[in-house]
Symmetry: C2
Subunit: 322 residues, 2 copies
């Protein structure tokens, strides 16, 4: 890619050349009609995810590079939840007429860096004018044994990686006009797709997985519906991001409910057989450097039943469609 993609003359193609130059070795094979990937006997996992200015991000909150990172990380997180190994990503960017080439290159650099962090090169894309910034990222990965949302069985236990509520804490601060706490801002601006964690869990018996983008309550609901089972959540067990406590107090809810109703933390929720216990969690933590916390169980029935200190809590989802 040192010469950049071989394209004819034109303003659009100059911008593509500038992007390829900035991406350097993070880009691979740009400039043909299709990206080409060597086939494999494994299952191919594919997901596409749009990030739209004013809906998923605002430039008074995030830099262009952070917007690009976040858009790519959110899409890559879907590969993590299948236990897939990334093969690469494609990104369709829509750019308003007033945008500079520098802003576009910064956004694409963020996309490239999020990909590079999990060995996913930028394989291709599309560049278009539009009324607002948007980045639609499509990710591809290979999974020897993909883990869907539908495999949880009554008796399984539910585990979650990392800590929840950080992204929501940042969002609530921004909406109020404040600067978020550093930790919360980092979770929102540069979420880390849990690729290594997803692969480890897939290799160690996970029966169902989903990444937490809609919030623990809503995503547990998807997993329950797909698995035709009921999920009981013990909210007192939910691991909570440090920055969530102050925001939960302002919101007048318990920090556990605040965290369980927040979205876009991009941690993984996994159903594991009951035999996967404390020892399993310790082995996971040694392998990945991440916490793994038991927060519930799968039962016969349907829906999500959350309790906090013995009291039933109706969890609200984090509905992006607004």
């Amino acid at each position: 890619m040192s010469d950049g993609p071989a394209l004819g003359p034109g303003v659009e193609f100059d911008r593509i050349r500038a992007i390829a130059s900035a991406l350097g070795r993070q880009a691979s094979g740009l400039g043909d009609d299709c990206a080409l990937i060597a086939g494999r006997p494994d299952t191919l996992a594919v997901s596409t995810d749009a990030s739209v200015e004013g809906v998923h991000f605002r430039f008074d909150w995030l830099s262009h590079e952070e917007v690009g990172w976040r858009a790519a990380a959110a899409a890559l997180s879907d590969l993590a939840s299948e236990g897939a190994e990334p093969a690469g990503l494609l990104v369709a960017v829509t750019v308003p007429p007033s945008a500079t080439e520098q802003a576009l290159v910064s956004l694409m650099r963020g996309v490239g860096e999020a990909g590079a962090a999990v060995a996913a090169p930028v394989l291709g894309g599309d560049l278009s004018a539009g009324p607002a910034w948007a980045a639609t990222v499509t990710v591809l990965g290979w999974a020897p044994a993909p883990v869907t949302r539908g495999g949880a069985r009554p008796g399984d236990r539910l585990w979650v990686t990392g800590a929840l509520g950080g992204a929501r804490a940042a969002l609530e601060a921004w909406r109020r006009g404040d600067a978020p706490a550093d930790e919360a801002r980092r979770v929102f601006a540069r979420p880390e797709p849990r690729i290594a964690a997803g692969r480890w869990l897939a290799e160690h018996g996970a029966r169902a997985m989903i990444d937490l983008s809609d919030g623990l309550g809503a995503d547990a609901g998807h997993l329950a519906a797909a698995s035709k089972a009921r999920i009981d959540l013990a909210l007192e067990q939910v691991p909570v991001a440090g920055a969530a406590a102050a925001e939960a107090r302002r919101a007048g809810v318990s920090v556990q409910q605040f965290a369980a109703e927040g979205g876009e933390d991009y941690e993984l929720l996994a159903a594991l057989p009951v035999a996967f216990g404390r020892d399993g969690a310790l082995a996971f933590e040694r392998a990945t450097g991440l916490a793994l916390t038991r927060i519930g169980a799968v039962r016969r029935g349907s829906g999500v039943h959350a309790t906090l200190a013995g009291r039933a809590i109706a969890l609200k989802g984090y509905d992006h469609f607004r």
Copy 2:
């Protein structure tokens, strides 16, 4: 898919269920984090393509169903140009707050029909709010021997499928405030990705291919740049859509130049060895029902050199980035 995707409750998820219900058997496996496709030893070809309201289409020109068809067909055309067999598509749709569920379902029905016409199921997608309608379609296909833009060699001949200038004829009429001729409107609203043609050409020796989205002049420029060669085009040979003649007269250019500077016809431009002659073209026409016309040759050098009746013509590209 008769029960629709298994998702938890929520407005966004209700819309996804309505889409899945309308797509019926054209959808496959919606509702997990990733679409899953069985791997193959062939090369995987992937492309992503955004269609944005006000840039690529307008609803006073096209119905929602036609917008969906056109967005999917434009993306599938990239598979055609690799000689790939479609495996499926994903679509990220951005919808303004005022949009009805009926409009969204119509658009997705158009996407599904364009896919079904070339045996490409809708494997997944994303639904998001945004300032305008947009549909970003990602297509996946398998190619035993993909044909890139870069394989043309000096001495090869250049051939084009179908006829050119129809989509531009529709566009010029709409821009003037007129209704386009039926044939021109059909080419613009429901372009047919040349999947069967692309596979036939790949199997019969095509060394390089590209689909005509930026216009013959610009796309020949991409093929020349990728192949590190010069392309000579004999414009008097260019096959011209019937509806282009009247629009070319209004524009004050020859119909051949009008057709060569128009974009979005989604025909294929292929470099074939000199031995592929009239007999090859006849066999192609018998197999696909499409015309195949010789319009130029590959030479040592660089750039595109077009002539009409012995006079050099500098072809303008059709730059979508506006």
